[in-house]
Structures are given as C-alpha cells and as structure tokens.
Symmetry: C2
Subunit: 280 residues, 2 copies
C-alpha cells in the first residue's frame, strides 16, 4: 500500500490523526522536499521534529530521487506499507499525480489522506472560494524571459468580478550555470518570490500592456506563511502592499474581484488602515 | 479564544493533531450541524464516536442556534477556550465567516485550524486544481422555481477549457409547509441532491437554452462521499454517469474541460470502461 499523506501547511502537528496512524504503521516513510524543505524548516531541525512526533525515521525524497527511484519506492509498496508525505494536500498546488499514476499502473494500492492546501486555506481572508476564477502562476522574470500569459487570465477574472489566486514562483534545486557548464551537480540557493516582487512584476506587465486589467489601486490580499502560527495576512492596494515587509516565505497573493458585504466586512479586519496584526 | 476547527471530510480521525489538541483543551465544544449531520453520521452514533476520540462532550449547534445564540457562544470565548467544529475546512464551501466576523468585532481572539475540503480534495481525480474556473451551485428544481444562472458560468468555463466544480444542493432543517402555516416548528426530512438528479437538471437546462455549453457526451467526474473510506469516484459521459448508482450522499460533480496528458492518464483510472472500482 502506498499512502499519499498531506501534511497541511503549518508544522508537524497539522497532520491528521488518520495520516499519523498511517505513518506509524508504514515500514518506509518518504517526504517530498520540494516545498517541505522550507515550510517545515527541514534545513535545520525540522526533520527531526517530524521524526520525533511520527516515531519514524524519514527519507527526504527530492524531485530527482522521486523521478529516478520511483520504481524502487513503488516496489516496496507492493509488499509493505509505504508513506509518502507531501506538504499541503497530495493533489494541491504541487502535484504528485505522476507518482500515483505510476503506482496504479503497477497495481499498487494507493490511499490518499487529504489535508488543507493553499487552494482552500486562502479562505481565511473571507473571500469566498467559489468566487475565484482560474488560478495563475507568476514566474520570476529574468533579463531575457518575461512571460506574461497570466495577464489575460487575471483580466478575464476581473471582468467577471472574480478573485484571482496568484501562486508565486519557487526555485529549489535549480542547477547552477557553473554546474551546467562543468557537468557537476551544484545547485543555486533556493529562491521564493516575495509579494513585493510579484506586485512589481504585475505592474510592469500592466504598464507594457496598458489594458487596465488592474492597477496600483487594485485591492489585493497578501498571505505569508499561510496556516503557520506566524502567518501574516494583509489586505490593501497593490501600492500599499508593495511597502509591507511580509517576512520569510512562502508567500501568495490574491487579486480581489467584486466583493459581497460579508467578504468586505471580513477583509476590513486585514486592511492596513486598521491594524496590520497577525491573522489566525 | 475561539478555535474554528476543520474536521476534514471522512470521519472523526480526519481532524489534525493540532485541532485535536485544541478541542481537548477547550472548555466548551460545539459542532455545526449543517453538513456534519450527515457526513459524520450524527443522526446515529456519530456524535458519541467523536466525543470518545476527542474526550469531550459536544453540543450540536444548528444554524438556528448559531444565529440566535452566537453572542452566548462568543461571550464564553472571551474568558475561556471554545472550539467550534466544522466539517471540511472552516472557510470551505459551507462558510462560517459570519461567526468569525462577529467574534472579531467583539474582540474575541480567533484561531483557525485548517483541513481538507471539497474544494481541494476533488484533486484526487487528477484534474489540476489551478485549471478550474468559477464554481457553481445546482439548486433543487421545483415546479415553479428552476433557476439556471449556473448555465452561463459553465459555458464560460468550457469555452476557456476550464473544469467546473458543481456543488449539489443540500436541504437540511427546511421548515415544512405545514409548519409555516401553523406556526409550529417542524422540518422536512433532509434532502441531498444526487449526481443523477444534477445531470438531469443540467441536461434539461441545456435543452431549454440550446447553446451547447455541454451535452450528454460531455465528460464529467462524479464524486460520492469524497474523503471517506467508501468514497466513489467515476469518470464518464453525462449519459453514462446518469446510470451509475453513487449510493449515499454527499455527492458532487465536475464537468471536465480540456485535459493535459497527465490529467487524462489519471482520469482513465476512474473511467467506466475499465473498472468502476473505488478510488482511494
């Protein structure tokens, strides 16, 4: 049996009781490193915190390992219980669909233990989840690569009065230019797009396109470390949010569409004019 | 402190470890009855199962109680810890934003414990969550009331190649016609829209409107008891799904847009031609 277990968003205690039981009875436990590296502070002592609560030793499986050794992982799952831990929900923004497809093809039973992900936890700001349009991803711009296909999507959502969730770029384990040249495996330090950078890029694209899909007065909600004890949620215009220091990653951004009165009332609690205090 | 705690979708074990700890240290524990009535089988012995795992007695708070006695609940939360349990995520399809707004206005601290909800757990079928358009709600048609504003939304999503989540009507604690006449409080038995009824209504509206937003050959995914041990996920055309007995509620339906190869591969596992077996 392969258990795909969502860990939720905050820390080791956001696993469900069902998920914890599955981990405890598994012979092997893997954790995807893509976002977990950060969210659960695996670079420092996060892994041992997880291992202590779960009572198991955990193998960190980065993308390379999952791609290269998927068959080994799945072979083990044919004869014993294997747990694969994923930050958020197993089918959230970071998808693990591919591993599940391979498992199913090999006839390995798969059980999914769901959990919160960014896609539903953004509900905390009061904007109704059913009033969101298509989600967009904002990639880091480089000197030569400034893709802006998100612009039409945001424009469309806003014309319909819908909110837009912007997922911000995460660069983990990118091979360094030097390593590409020398054929040695070396990686760039991880990079996570901050809300200010996202807004700068958004406004740059608006200036280029000039179709007024949004502007610096458009209301947005910035989320940092969503679901953690020290999460920060601030609502304000793009211009206002540009000046806010949201602190450590992960960040995401919502561009607000038309609002209903209850949405408005809830947003008010997060607005800068009142109190920048922590949401909970 | 008011803890708004998501219970997830399946049973009492889908609460998170963080949520469980918050329940255990709370002086008073309420559970919203709106959908929980069903999902956790509160009509029979579900409540005692919850109470046993959580080690607390739980008060069922239906909508009436929450509306009429919100101030009492919140008053308690000013001086002690109160847990308010919600099926799914506290800000999922069924919203509790209003209670949170009232709490914040009274200066009561609110902590949210997130969990999986329908909005993200539908990811299990392999369709990527960021490729969904606006969510629609399908209400029960009556002889005189057949609202079809969902039609334009589905049409729009499909033109853009996006998937559409259809939330199906739930009628709980509707006052009976007799009770309205006599001024006594009596309620209709709860009703939950089944996938077949939803598809019948969808096709009826398509026939009326005739703009071919979708038709009986359009691929859909039906979900019953999503997140439970006995969940059933079946992909197929509307015509095919009309014939499937999805069993007890809750049901929801996804109308599939354009698909990527990985989405397609995953959907194949749920298609009728292969095996109607349970998803997990």
């Amino acid at each position: 049996m392969l258990y795909m277990i969502g860990l939720g968003l905050g820390d080791e205690k956001d696993i469900t009781v069902r998920g914890l039981e599955a981990v405890q009875k598994s012979q092997k436990v893997f954790i995807e490193a893509y976002t977990s590296l950060l969210s659960f502070g695996l670079s420092s002592n996060g892994l041992s915190t997880l291992e202590k609560l779960y009572g198991k030793s955990i193998t960190v499986a980065d993308r390379e390992m999952v791609e290269e050794k998927a068959d080994d992982i799945l072979l083990e799952a044919t004869s014993s219980d294997v747990a694969f831990l994923v930050v958020g929900d197993p089918f959230g923004a970071t998808t693990h669909t591919d591993l599940v497809v391979r498992a199913k093809k090999l006839g390995v039973d798969v059980k999914v233990v769901h959990n919160a992900s960014v896609m539903n936890a953004i509900g905390v700001c009061g904007l109704q989840l059913y009033r969101y349009g298509e989600t967009v991803s904002l990639p880091f711009f480089t000197d030569t690569w400034r893709p802006d296909s998100f612009y039409e999507k945001i424009q469309r959502n806003r014309k319909l009065g819908l909110h837009t969730l912007c997922l911000l770029d995460i660069r983990v384990k990118e091979p360094s230019l030097e390593s590409l040249c020398r054929g040695k495996k070396q990686y760039e330090p991880p990079r996570f797009m901050a809300i200010n950078v996202a807004i700068e890029q958004l406004l740059e694209v608006e200036q280029m396109r000039g179709e007024n899909a949004y502007n610096e007065d458009t209301t947005c909600v910035g989320f940092a470390r969503l679901g953690s004890e020290d999460q920060l949620v601030v609502a304000g215009s793009m211009k206002q949010l540009l000046e806010v220091d949201f602190g450590p990653p992960l960040h995401c951004l919502v561009i607000v569409g038309d609002t209903h009165p209850v949405e408005e009332e809830m947003l008010d609690f997060y607005k800068l004019v009142k109190d920048r205090g922590q949401a909970s």
